[in-house]
């Protein structure tokens, strides 16, 4: 067995063990920690399967934001999972049947890495052959994501936009601001404050690198948006939500949520006006390659803007609430 196969199997075993542990534990806090580990292992697995852009997304989401948001949810709900009150035989049977059907379905799938698999012979050869001449960037994933499949990505950004709006609508209805509270920041944590100050700059720089380096390496608007939001979130965690709101007001963030999608759709509309199809960037520059470059840069920026703004405003919405929990619940 090759080393690659052994590593794959080891990582899959880790995933299985983590998932089992998540099932077993009832303390939801431990579950949050384990799901962070689950995301770390998935990212390593995706790197090993050569899906570097996907691994990057998993890493960006799993490294901080998802833990923060899950904790914020715990703060609003409960720290322990309730024991089931009814028999679990029926769910178990349903799960087994579904699992069996899924495994049965995989029997018809082509072997892993088969060069004759439909995915390898459909449009992929065209993308691989034509990207250099038509779009002229080394990272084919970005070319496919932002140009060849620009419609799909516009759809994804719209999904994120809609999800963000949904969260804001839901949480805004339950904002409670009880009396007699005082602002509490992490004032006495000198080490944390200093290190955070040192790190916020590099994190923002790294986000810009990921955003604008996407033509050449793994990265893009989705990943960069999350990293950007992480920098603001850590500022809010250590220096206080009030200070973060002073730097980036909630209204401005909510405006940016829409601006990103608008930028993406607007770029498509401009190519419309020049008499080409929607999201055909070729007309934006002097020649086709220059136009594609500019178009990809703009839509990736739109994606980054929306993702970052949705993340920050979701965090504001979650952490701006005072969780109605008393001492006895803890």
């Amino acid at each position: 067995m090759s080393i690659e196969a052994i590593i794959n199997i080891a990582l899959f075993v880790f995933l299985g063990l983590t998932a089992f542990a998540i099932l077993k534990l009832r303390a939801l806090f431990a579950v949050v920690m384990l799901s962070a580990v689950f995301s770390l292992v998935s990212a390593a697995l995706l790197v090993h399967l050569d899906a570097v852009d996907v691994a990057f997304t998993e890493a960006a989401v799993g490294a901080g934001i998802s833990t923060v948001l899950m904790l914020a949810t715990l703060a609003l709900t409960s720290r322990h999972e309730k024991a089931p009150t009814r028999s679990q035989a029926l769910p178990l049977i349903v799960v087994f049947l579904t699992g069996f059907a899924l495994v049965y379905g995989t029997l018809d799938m082509p072997r892993f890495g088969d060069p004759q698999a439909p995915i390898q012979v459909h449009v992929a050869p065209k993308y691989i052959a034509d990207t250099q001449s038509e779009i002229g960037i080394p990272n084919i994933v970005t070319a496919v994501l932002a140009s060849y499949r620009g419609f799909d990505t516009l759809g994804e950004v719209t999904v994120i936009f809609t999800a963000g709006i949904g969260v804001l609508l839901l949480l805004a209805a339950f904002i409670r601001e009880p009396e007699g509270l005082r602002v509490q920041t992490m004032d006495h944590h000198l080490v944390l404050r200093v290190v955070t100050k040192v790190l916020i700059g590099p994190i923002l720089l790294f986000a810009l690198y990921v955003q604008f380096h996407a033509d050449y390496g793994p990265g893009g608007g989705f990943q960069a948006g999350i990293i950007f939001a992480s920098a603001f979130i850590i500022y809010a965690l250590v220096f206080g939500l009030e200070n973060a709101r002073k730097a980036v007001p909630g209204r401005a963030v909510r405006l940016l949520v829409a601006c990103g999608v608008l930028l993406y759709g607007g770029v498509g509309f401009v190519s419309f006006l020049f008499g080409k199809n929607y999201l055909n960037y070729s007309v934006l520059g002097a020649d086709q390659v220059a136009g594609q470059h500019l178009g990809i840069l703009l839509v990736e920026f739109g994606v980054g803007l929306t993702v970052a703004a949705v993340m920050v405003s979701t965090f504001y919405a979650f952490s701006g609430q005072n969780p109605p929990i008393g001492d006895e619940d803890w």
Binding site: A27, H189, V191, L192, V195, L199, P202
Partner: protein, 118 residues
């Protein structure tokens, strides 16, 4: 010849780093209470990680990869001790006592409730 020396140096660094990582992880499992476990985890986070990264740097030579490895080492150098400090601080403030010889059992991790009272 120089390739051999490079390989030998980087292998020595990698081996030492791997050993420290495993020792640290063993300590994380075997040590009796939270503070001693933290001590064990520190081995992995500092010397173990840095030795492995150093070994990789020697392998990579002068290239962009080495710059990235250096950055990783620098950021780990900042973040790992910070988070360890923050965890220890939080545990101590929450009333988790270290286990000491004079009062056996008094500082057992289970004696303090999770996230317990101050």
């Amino acid at each position: 010849m120089s390739a051999l020396i490079t390989d030998a140096v980087s292998w020595a660094l990698l081996a030492a780093g791997s050993l420290l990582v495993v020792v640290g992880a063993l300590g994380l499992i075997r040590m009796p209470d939270f503070y001693t476990r933290m001590h064990a985890a520190g081995i992995t986070d500092t010397l173990g990680a840095d030795l492995i990264l150093l070994g990789l740097m020697v392998q990579a030579g002068f290239s962009l990869v080495t710059v990235k490895l250096l950055l990783i080492a620098a950021f780990l150098f900042f973040t790992s001790p910070t988070s360890t400090h923050a965890i220890a601080n939080a545990a101590l403030t929450a009333g988790l006592k270290p286990r000491v010889a004079e009062s056996p059992g008094a500082g057992k991790g289970s004696a303090a409730p999770e996230g317990g009272e101050p």
